[in-house]
């Protein structure tokens, strides 16, 4: 299509749903070798992590009554964050052949790359809710609704990161290694295996600056404690999320038109 008729999406609107669906479907097929077994296999890693960490740290934090529930929520959300950002960072490079053949907007490659992680997250959510119910704490509809809202924020945060990182990766070819180190450190910054209460109160604000922290903590508050965070806390979360998306979209918009030259 001509540049004049494509609009800000960068693609003919009639072709957009087909392009999104085909990229998601082929990505899923490539990754899981079109079997349900392949998909289940992908779920085993975080489940195995959960079992091992639970065995070790439930002894350390024996005084924490809801440690198991908090751990499973933290761990599954963290797994989504690492997977989605890892795949998102290399999404343009991985499907670069698409950009060298026709005028095609790079943002579609970034957005569709998150689909597998989202699917896994949905399965995790079912497991989390089932786990809560089995532990005698079935979450209220309000809690589930708020949890879904936090997940939406989380998705937007990972998209904002991936939009920027995917174009920067084309110029900084070790960015994926740098990000791996950051996420390894980030695993311990976010209160996943330890309760936030073990840290002195004055550092809490800093821990909350690491985006997975508020998502994990808010989810635990509504699902496990049955407490809804304040309106101010929600406003801050939404503002922070939009800021990350805005920054990511800006960097992407600046660098994406020249992406094909760096492939």
């Amino acid at each position: 299509m001509s540049a004049q008729t494509l609009g800000w999406l960068g693609i003919d609107r009639a072709a957009l749903p087909g392009a999104l669906w085909t990229l998601v479907r082929t990505d899923f097929k490539t990754r899981y070798r079109p079997t349900i077994g392949g998909f289940v296999w992908a779920l085993l890693k975080p489940l195995a992590m959960f079992v091992v960490l639970l065995a070790v740290f439930s002894l350390v934090f024996r005084s924490e009554p809801q440690y198991r529930l908090n751990l499973i929520i933290g761990l599954f959300l963290w797994d989504f964050f690492v997977e989605a950002t890892k795949v998102g960072l290399v999404s343009i490079q991985d499907k670069g052949f698409v950009l060298s053949k026709a005028r095609f907007p790079a943002w579609i490659l970034v957005v569709t790359s998150a689909a597998n992680a989202v699917l896994t997250l949905l399965v995790f959510c079912v497991i989390i809710v089932a786990f809560l119910a089995a532990s005698g704490r079935p979450p209220s509809p309000l809690a589930v609704g708020l949890f879904a809202l936090y997940l939406l924020h989380f998705l937007v945060i990972t998209l904002g990161f991936s939009l920027a990182a995917s174009v920067l990766f084309l110029r900084y070819r070790d960015l994926n290694q740098v990000w791996e180190v950051v996420t390894q450190a980030g695993f311990f910054v976010a209160p996943i295996i330890y309760p936030l209460s073990v840290l002195p109160e004055r550092v809490h604000a800093f821990v909350y600056l690491w985006p997975p922290t508020p998502i994990i903590q808010f989810s635990r508050r509504v699902l496990v404690d049955g407490v809804v965070p304040t309106a101010r806390a929600h406003a801050l979360l939404t503002l922070g999320t939009l800021a990350i998306l805005g920054a990511g979209a800006l960097i992407h918009r600046r660098a994406a038109p020249r992406a094909a030259e760096y492939l």
Binding site: M1, S2, A3, Q4, T5, I11, D12, A14, A15, P17, G18, A19, W21, T22, L23, R25, T26, K29, T30, G96, F97, V98, L99, S100, K101, A102, R103, F104, R171, Y172, R173, D174, L175, V178, P257, R258, A260, E261
Partner: protein
């Protein structure tokens, strides 16, 4: 008549770094050192216009800027200066031998490439059989691309692209793919498209392609247009250039 495509003083320079620095590590370690690079001017103020239904050939030696020009017209690269004005949708058939998803079979790859080229799912579904027939790959439709030869993969790509053609068509070395039978089918399809009023830009080294299929041609050298006219004239200038006669 208003041109359907205008290329207006398009220039493009690639900066070729003489010291390679493409990692965070290298940038951190060399933070305060200058980054030497050499400019490579690939296109230098190229201007031309194409009328609706016209077929324009573009010739030039390797490195003369032909492929970069096509990529700029296709919207894959951005010009540093100048502009490309399109007044109709465009389909580009560039570098099609490369870059399939080898883990997927032919049908999935047809969907992948078709949707990248702007076809809807319904259009792809409708055209699937004729795409496989055109490429003569119906028997291998469920074979993963990693088991395809390069020629088979190219045939499939061209078959998809020929079904995705909008008003303007960009072709890069189109008739260098496949065996004689496939080339003949490509030529027939190409002629049918040109006859039905499509505007076509063809890049080729092949003088027969330019003289047979193009109303008009231009010759690029060093990123500038050095000759323009009918196919025969430009082919002569091209051959003189290749033979090392400057000023042709």
């Amino acid at each position: 008549m208003t041109p359907i495509l205008e290329v207006d003083a398009v220039s493009k320079t690639f900066r070729i770094p003489t010291v390679h620095r493409d990692t965070v590590r290298a940038h951190v370690l060399d933070l305060f050192r200058p980054r030497p690079s050499r400019p490579l001017r690939v296109l230098d103020g190229v201007s031309f216009a194409v009328r609706p239904g016209e077929t324009l050939g573009i010739m030039g030696r390797n490195g003369s800027g032909k492929s970069t020009l096509l990529k700029i017209i296709a919207g894959i690269y951005r010009p540093d200066a100048g502009a490309v004005r399109l007044r109709a949708p465009l389909t580009s058939i560039l570098e099609l031998g490369l870059g399939w998803n080898p883990e997927l079979d032919a049908i999935d790859n047809v969907y992948l490439l078709g949707s990248i080229m702007g076809l809807t799912l319904a259009e792809i579904r409708h055209a699937l059989d004729s795409i496989l027939d055109f490429a003569e790959l119906r028997d291998f439709a469920r074979l993963k691309l990693q088991h395809y030869s390069r020629g088979m993969a190219s045939r499939l790509a061209y078959a998809v692209a020929f079904h995705a053609v909008r008003d303007i068509l960009l072709l890069d070395e189109i008739f260098a793919v496949g065996d004689a039978g496939f080339r003949a089918r490509c030529e027939a399809r190409y002629q049918a498209l040109a006859a039905s009023g499509h505007t076509v830009l063809v890049v080729s080294h092949d003088t027969r392609t330019i003289t047979t299929f193009c109303h008009r041609a231009l010759l690029l050298e060093g990123g500038r247009i050095v000759a323009e006219g009918d196919g025969e004239t430009v082919c002569k200038a091209y051959l003189a250039l290749v033979d090392g006669k400057p000023g042709a």
